[in-house]
Symmetry: C2
Subunit: 212 residues, 2 copies
């Protein structure tokens, strides 16, 4: 007996694309990129596999979109702390650094997703562009905050300080995600603040607002 077709509702482009992207991120976070097959993605999104090709020309297309979204979200989450931060440049920088080293930015799920996409970044020029854009966007934001301190004018020095600050934050972020049990609560934030402060020659730790 021929099984009946499953019923469905039309949802429209935006909702479907979002559901499919979310499914990709879920799966990559759980089992790495190889777990995100078209059938698994469709299943997770409550849809059949054929629909993917209706909204994305190819699976690689969907992958790219998912990566773009997660990177943008992470930098957006991080930047949001500036919306509620005081006007004082030092406090703003301290809040920004600290926010990078605690949830939701410091999140092993986000890290798993990021790590899963790394090999695609190296292979695919479009992915590399997304990475460069978000990475440089984050670094530029950091550099602006450093510039706002008004302690440095030389652009070359500013660039080097931004790269170094970004690197120490990235390194702490990475280690906190991979070996979360190796650090005491708040230790990474504290080390991040004192390290960036040391790089800038500026006491940053004392400027952190009480609670985020």
């Amino acid at each position: 007996m021929p099984a009946e077709r499953r019923t469905y509702r039309r949802e429209g482009e935006e909702r479907r694309r979002e559901a499919l992207i979310d499914a990709v991120l879920d799966l990559v976070a759980e089992g790495g990129p190889q777990a995100a097959t078209v059938r698994a993605i469709a299943d997770r999104a409550g849809v059949t596999a054929g629909l993917i090709r209706h909204y994305f020309q190819t699976k690689e297309d969907l992958t790219r979109a998912a990566y773009r979204q997660v990177m943008v979200k992470m930098t957006t989450d991080n930047a949001r702390v500036l919306d509620t931060a005081p006007a004082d440049p030092a406090t703003r920088l301290a809040a920004f650094v600290a926010a990078s080293l605690r949830p939701p930015v410091l999140d092993s799920v986000a890290f798993g997703i990021w790590a899963g996409f790394v090999h695609l970044i190296r292979k695919d020029p479009a992915m590399r562009d997304v990475h460069a854009q978000t990475y440089l966007g984050y670094r530029d934001m950091l550099q602006q905050l450093i510039a706002d301190l008004g302690r440095v004018n030389d652009p070359a020095v500013l660039r080097a300080q931004a790269i170094a600050s970004n690197a120490v934050i990235d390194g702490l972020w990475m280690e906190g995600c991979v070996l979360p049990d190796s650090f005491d609560p708040g230790e990474l934030e504290r080390i991040g603040l004192s390290s960036v402060g040391a790089i800038l020659g500026f006491d940053l730790s004392s400027h952190l607002p009480v609670a985020a």
Copy 2:
């Protein structure tokens, strides 16, 4: 007409295992983990696919062996710079930091493999042990070099300085591997030295030996 069997030479376990592991690393370097299929690996190693199962119980086994080898090699390569370094503690630390931020340690292959198998690291206790061992081994080495400077006695301060120094090195290493074209030659080494120096409150840049 039945094509003739290809002729071959017996090589023995050690040579074959090594060739297969090297093939995995080659392929991952070129096309990411998903490029390392059993057939591609065998082809690269000058062998037919069936032989893999003769030396490794499963493909995951071979993958683990390749991961272990590349991690051990990376820390070994990095530590080797100390063999030929002068006795002066500051020079030794500077040489160690700089070596971490140039080839062969700054190598996208190692990073790609590590990133590609982060999920395996989290699930498989044996892999997590390898990671923790190499990571903490590196950090302990760094901490010892910092201690040899004789500027700090408080163990807690020493630990924080080691974590921060390790983080900035990791962050620079990571960015250099992912976006090698975003940095001038030697830029990462220079930033690494000045950043670690800033964290330690010690001018490290002037202690780098001329050539490695």
